[in-house]
Amino acid sequence: MPTAVFASIPNGFVLLGFWLVYLLPSSPLFQRVDGVHAVGCFWIMSLTLLYFCQQLLNGLTLGAVYALVAIGYTMVYGILGMINFAHGDIYMIGAFLGVLTLGVLTALGITAPWLVLPVMLVMACLITAGYGSAIERLAYRPLRGAPRLAPLITAIGVSIFLQNAVQQLQGARVQTLQPLFTSNLVLWQQPVAGQPDFTLAIGHSQLLIWGATLFCLACLSWLINRSSVGRAQRAVAQDLKMAAILGVPTDRVIGTTFVLGSALAAVAGVLVMIHYGVVDFMIGFNASLKAFAAAVLGGIGSLSGAVVGGLIIGLVEALWAGYLPGEYKDMAAFSLLILVLLVRPSGLFGRPEVSKV
């Protein structure tokens, strides 16, 4: 299932880099103005292109987050054939745990970002993984073998429960927090006549999101494709009963899946909280819809599909918001989902479902 396309993602980046470095400068988007620019490059990017690049960077950031959440959906679907609608709220809980850890650390006088950040991530991952595994054990395991609708409705119930629990415990108001990283990495500074310079910049928090996402994906890819735990997981996804007959403790494997998915969602939650600086008990709802759309777009059940789907949804949303009325950006994302499903009902990387009689 996940082997092929994980390997081809780096190739995609290489291609993109090739395009940016070699092909773009000769395109009409660039104007040649010799010897003017401070950076020492005699190609000056047009503002149109700079703006576009900025939207791309924003879209990749958003997409990375969606990808992390979408993986949780797709892994659970791959094994149990159910949509875990509580997964978005797991992500929300991850974000809140990040806030709480940050609060505790600040109260203890620890503020160095290089120390705060790992502690936040680890705490959020551990506790959220506990939540995920508890939800599986209490809400879904008793329904194993029940008709498919039962766990689905249960998942929606768990989602509502978690939202309300967090609302009761943490309050309904939006929590804002001091940004941990305020500095930017300036990629390009473009003088504009009579106006402030246009800067193309990546926030350090964005770099963090990309780095953390790549790291998580690399670990997950190794775990699923190379380790014996991952092998058991793939076996259970392909034929649960046969795996049990061979001696695979299927309940434990399913539990591990929930733990992994929840930990990734917690990473996404903490990262988003750091990047945007706001969090409330409802953020899980929107994120879960988007990540679910990403998983379906990529082909639910396929890990690489979830990653690519997440990036596509993020890019579409950011580009739409950059050029067209921003209120409709969700509509753009979901319309794209519908269009893709019309052409490829099983998603970009999905296998058509063959039901054997």
Partner: protein
């Protein structure tokens, strides 16, 4: 070694097996023959509690299997080659075999791998290939090899000849005989009574969920009823 007492298996309101008894002594090959839908597969899968029998007990080397979860039974020394092979199609042949040996220590893995690839030499060149892309016969060999690397004392096979070319069936049954000579008991469910009675020491005949006949394979081969209905002789 194995004793099934009074086993009944129901699917909802439908009774697939009713009060069946079966015994297998260590080292034996026991065959269960019967027509399509007679309950043979259900009886066999009830060993693994898939589904759990509604009544009766299964004793394997003194352990009552009916109370154990499926994955524990696989660790007791029973391995299964199920109907339709059920290999993992999107995993390589090697990974399929590794799944079979999941509860075995890594120390004798290499030795076991060599043993199954010498039993089925064609698999040696296919180890890296996705199992779903193999031919039916090769998939059956993977399924048997996957069961053998679990070092079972009892190997349970459900219709190993189904859908395979006669020459492949000959190969597979020759391999099964070899496996048995190494001391592994076989419990075999077959519609192909000819093949099954050639291989087996003891045999049972199942009909609409009940055991209707039992005896040595030779005596059943001579039985006029078996000859008429299962061996296709006039």
């Amino acid at each position: 070694m194995l004793r099934m007492d009074n086993i009944s298996v129901h699917y909802g309101a439908i009774a697939a097996v009713e009060q069946a008894n079966l015994t297998l002594a260590a080292g034996q090959i026991v065959a269960v023959i019967g027509a399509n839908g007679a309950g043979k597969s259900s009886l066999l899968m009830s060993l693994f509690n898939q589904p759990r029998p509604v009544e009766g007990t299964v004793w394997f080397e003194g352990v009552n299997l009916t109370r154990l979860p499926t994955h524990r039974i696989g660790r007791l020394g029973i391995a299964c080659v199920p109907e339709g092979r059920r290999i993992f199609p999107r995993m390589s042949v090697l990974e399929n075999l590794q799944m079979g040996a999941i509860h075995q220590p890594k120390t004798h893995w290499q030795q076991d791998l060599e043993q199954v690839t010498s039993l089925f030499p064609v698999l040696a060149s296919r180890l890296g290939q996705m199992a779903g892309t193999l031919s039916g016969g090769e998939q059956q060999m993977v399924a048997i090899a996957r069961a053998l690397v679990a070092r079972p004392r009892l190997l349970v096979l459900d219709e190993p000849s189904l859908g395979l070319a006669p020459i492949i069936v000959q190969q597979i049954f020759a391999a099964l005989r070899q496996v048995n000579r190494q001391g592994i008991s076989l419990l075999l469910v077959e519609q192909n009574a000819h093949l099954a009675l050639q291989l087996a020491d003891q045999a049972y005949v199942m009909q609409t969920g009940r055991m209707v006949m039992q005896g040595s394979a030779d005596s059943l081969r001579q039985n006029p009823h078996v000859q008429q209905f299962y061996l296709g002789m006039a």
